[in-house]
């Protein structure tokens, strides 16, 4: 058996790609296509308040008016007439793992979610297709006043006004076509509120699984970290591979209060038939800190650029990201930051790997407004080309409107050096292993920012992609 096969045997791709046999009678699936009727039907299913029903209709109108972006990867393979916007299990969301329907429970068991919850998480939300099927937060965390629940039920409770005040205010539906789409058919997702001064010591996690073929997932994550509070939130995503296009157009809105800190970590491993058109945005108040850790491995096509608005004086942002574009993938990823407050600072550090004809594009924008005196921004993007049938492009933009700013940018594109491979091979390591080791080293600045078990998962994904079986 060759070394290459040994590497493949170590990693079980079926961890993500397995397909659960769903009994049609257990699931409700909405008619494909996007019309006023389907939007109203989603609204009815969600038991929306009237303001939300009207908001969805407004978003649908915007969706029909806004053009598809002319600058990104092609999304010609995405036909909304063949996408079902809403698929749910007929069972309700559960607060006890034992009560989750057997077939769905099996899926998440195989993904290791309940085990992770027991071992290292303060709370877990699990979404299956369009609805959350499980949500739980540890008693001691709940006792601190931390709210971690599904958005729909929170909308009817004591946090209803807070949600109305914040929902799609940071990512308005006018932002782009798929933000409008999200506003029209959003379903599922989490609401997190961390009260003033509360520090959540261990992370919360939401896991999103899109199991149905030809379906869309449109979850909305709204996190409010109040003054002086601290939270690490982890997001995981996966789906089995189908021969038809799936769509993910989620939305994440993060509000980081004065002196607060939020770390948002994502390991995205959607299947390679997925169009991932996700929007993530954070606004940070005075002295607040926003940290993004992002790993993009899956999807057929991605548009993903988490954005941070540094509104408060002395607020900070750090973005650490890696993208691995393999065969058939066109991953257009990066980050955006807007400096508004005085003495704000941002650091963007990204790694991109392209292999087997994959297209990896790093795209970013750094905007320093006139008000952002003494702002500092630093961007570093490294790309690694593993063959000559792939692409690695970097398209960073900077818009600076004050002299009192300090902006540095550096980008590098290159290959694995022959000397490094030779060095490792001369010590008895196979060429494949040597390359995998070098790529893992290249990705190290990202993996070291992740909790251990996620860093291990990320390294496994890199090995899997390197073996050509990703």
């Amino acid at each position: 058996m060759s070394e290459n096969k040994q590497i493949v045997a170590d990693i079980d791709r079926s961890l993500y790609d397995f397909k659960d046999v769903e009994s049609e009678s257990d699931f409700y699936r909405m008619q494909e296509g996007l019309t006023e009727e389907t939007v109203l039907k989603v609204s009815e299913e969600k038991n929306d308040p009237e303001w939300m029903r009207q908001f969805r209709l407004k978003c649908l109108k915007l969706y029909n008016e806004i053009d598809i972006p002319d600058w990104g990867p092609s999304i010609d393979g995405l036909d909304m007439d063949k996408i079902s916007s809403y698929v749910r299990h007929k069972s309700d969301m559960k607060g006890r793992w034992e009560d989750v329907p057997e077939d769905i429970k099996n899926t998440f068991e195989r993904l290791g979610i309940p085990q992770a919850e027991r071992e290292s998480l303060a709370g877990v939300g699990a979404q299956y297709d369009s609805e959350l099927v499980y949500h739980n937060v540890k008693d001691e965390v709940a006792a601190q006043g931390v709210i971690y629940t599904d958005l729909e039920s929170a909308m009817w409770g004591e946090y209803g006004d807070m949600i109305k005040e914040h929902f799609m205010k940071l990512v308005p539906p006018t932002d782009h076509k798929f933000a409008a789409l999200h506003g029209a058919v959003w379903s599922g997702g989490s609401f997190v509120y961390v009260p003033k001064g509360v520090k959540v010591e261990i992370p919360l996690q939401s896991y999103f699984r899109l199991n149905a073929a030809g379906a869309g997932q449109f979850e909305h994550t709204l996190i409010i970290v109040d003054e002086g509070a601290d939270l690490h939130f982890i997001e995981g995503c996966s789906a089995p591979k189908y021969n038809v296009a799936n769509l993910h157009a989620g939305c994440v809105e993060l509000f980081v209060g004065k002196n607060a800190r939020l770390r948002y970590s994502t390991i995205e491993n959607w299947s390679k038939n997925m169009y991932n058109l996700n929007t993530k945005r954070a606004i940070v108040e005075e002295n607040g800190i926003m940290e993004w850790v992002s790993g993009s491995f899956g999807s057929h096509t991605s548009y993903l650029y988490p954005m941070t608005i540094l509104k408060g004086d002395n607020s900070k942002m750090e973005f650490t990201g890696i993208t691995f574009a393999g065969k058939g993938q066109n991953l257009d990823t990066g980050a955006k930051v807007v400096h508004q407050g005085k003495a704000t600072s941002s650091v963007i550090n990204t790694k991109s790997i392209s292999k087997d004809g994959g297209i990896g594009t790093y795209r970013s924008s750094v905007i320093i407004q006139n008000s952002a005196k003494r702002a500092k921004a630093s961007v570093s993007c490294d790309s690694l080309m593993l063959d000559s049938i792939s692409r690695a492009d970097t398209i960073p933009g900077m818009d600076i409107r004050t002299d009192d700013a300090d902006v540095g940018h550096e980008a590098k594109i290159g290959r694995i050096s022959d000397e490094a491979i030779f060095y490792l091979m001369s010590r008895g390591i196979s060429e494949e292993d040597a390359k995998a080791m070098i790529v893992s080293g290249f990705a190290n600045p990202v993996s070291k920012e992740l909790p251990l078990e996620y860093a291990v998962e990320m390294n496994n994904l890199i090995k899997l992609e390197m073996s050509g079986n990703g």
Partner: protein, 389 residues
């Protein structure tokens, strides 16, 4: 007859977010009388150089069309970049930094090109100097094609000048074909009046072992467009570009430089140094594009922008496109004001802040102006810098 001009220019090789307003620019001119016979001629034509004047713009581009396969090095393209805009300029005889609208303007206005042909092996020891002395209110379009034969060497210096308060419009297209081993140095020094609209559109192709060195100083004018597109088509072609700019008052400067690396072991180095003052508005686009087949190539682009007013606008788009494994591409940008450490150092030596800024502006611009190989023109440009700063 007076003319209106409305062109889309400086289209980024790959589009990005529209909210950044860097994907392209518009060049608009209203009601301007434009001359198309104003291209200056050199005082003498050296032996081994042929100047053919009065060649219709489109016809002058024939030399590029005839060599299209050599320039484009047709190879299987696996996948284009996201937001690729190359289709837009595909009908140009040779792609230029500003793009097809300039070619269309030149053709429609009946501009005649001066075609300089340098014979194989000819090495000029003195530069060919073209002086544009523009008058207040004057509008002018002109064009040159430089075809440098194998192993030839030549330096061209183009000086665009007028009274410092003059207004007008001035547009130039310069296209270059450097055959195997040819070495061309092209210097463009622009010190036009503060109400002048000026564009300088360059396109070129470098064959095996050819070298093009471009030195550009954009110091005057109110709205300035300065752009270049170079094909490094064959093995070991080498392209070096140095730009110095000064953008002040409410003026704008719009830059689009591209190095399209296709041959093996090509080398592209582009440096941009400049100063923004007042409410100046500058957009810089710089692209290194490593095409399939450019293995062993190196590309480097560096930008150093000194911002000296709280109300300047500086947009920077440093792009690297890569379709080849065995290449090294780098970009670096430093944008900001003078560091406190530097100011402190100077103040310790009795130099106040205003003088320190003057010194640093001069240092940036003169590091480029020193590359002008004609002492008289270099001195004149440096005097201009002194007088402005």
């Amino acid at each position: 007859m007076n003319r209106d001009i409305n062109m889309k220019v400086n289209v980024l090789p790959v589009l990005t977010y529209n909210f950044l307003h860097v994907n392209d620019s518009t060049l608009q001119i209203k009601d301007m009388e434009i001359q198309t016979d104003g291209a200056p001629k050199p005082s003498d034509i050296p032996a081994g150089v042929t100047l053919t004047g009065e060649v219709p713009f489109s016809e002058a581009g024939q030399v590029f069309r005839a060599n299209k396969e050599r320039i484009l090095v047709a190879k299987e393209n696996f996948a284009g970049p996201n937001g690729d805009t190359s289709e837009r300029d595909k009908d140009q005889a040779i792609r230029t930094g500003m793009g097809a609208d300039v070619d269309n303007l030149m053709t429609n206005m009946g501009v005649k090109s001066d075609v300089y042909t340098i014979d194989e092996g000819v090495r000029l020891t003195s530069p060919i100097i073209l002086r544009y002395d523009m008058q207040n209110g004057q509008g002018s379009l002109s064009s040159q094609v430089i075809h440098a034969g194998k192993n030839s060497e030549a330096t061209f210096i183009m000086v665009y000048d007028s009274d410092k308060d003059a207004a007008g419009f001035h547009g130039v297209s310069t296209r270059i074909l450097a055959e195997d081993g040819a070495k061309i140095k092209l210097v463009k020094a622009q010190t036009l009046g503060k109400e002048f609209i000026h564009f300088d559109d360059i396109g070129g192709a470098l064959m095996k072992g050819a070298e093009i060195s471009l030195v550009t100083l954009e110091l005057g004018g109110s709205r300035v467009y300065s752009s270049s597109y170079m094909y490094l088509s064959d093995k070991e072609a080498s392209y070096n570009s140095n730009m110095g700019y000064l953008c002040r008052d409410d003026h704008s400067l719009d830059i689009n430089y591209v190095a399209d690396q296709r041959g093996k072991k090509t080398n592209a180095a582009m440096q941009f140094k400049g100063v923004l003052m007042g409410t100046a508005n500058k957009t810089f686009r710089g692209t290194l594009d490593f095409k399939t087949g450019s293995s062993g190539s190196v590309g480097d682009e560096q930008e150093d922008a000194l911002l000296l007013s709280p109300d300047v606008i500086n947009r920077t788009m440093p792009v690297i496109l890569c379709q080849e494994e065995d290449v090294e591409g780098r970009h670096g940008a430093t944008i900001g004001q003078l560091s406190d450490d530097l100011l402190f150092y100077m103040q310790c030596r009795g130099i106040d802040e205003v003088e320190a800024k003057r010194i640093m502006i001069r240092a940036r611009l003169e590091s480029v102006s020193r590359l002008i190989p004609d002492p008289e023109i270099m001195q004149k440009v440096q005097y201009y810098i002194e007088s402005i700063v």
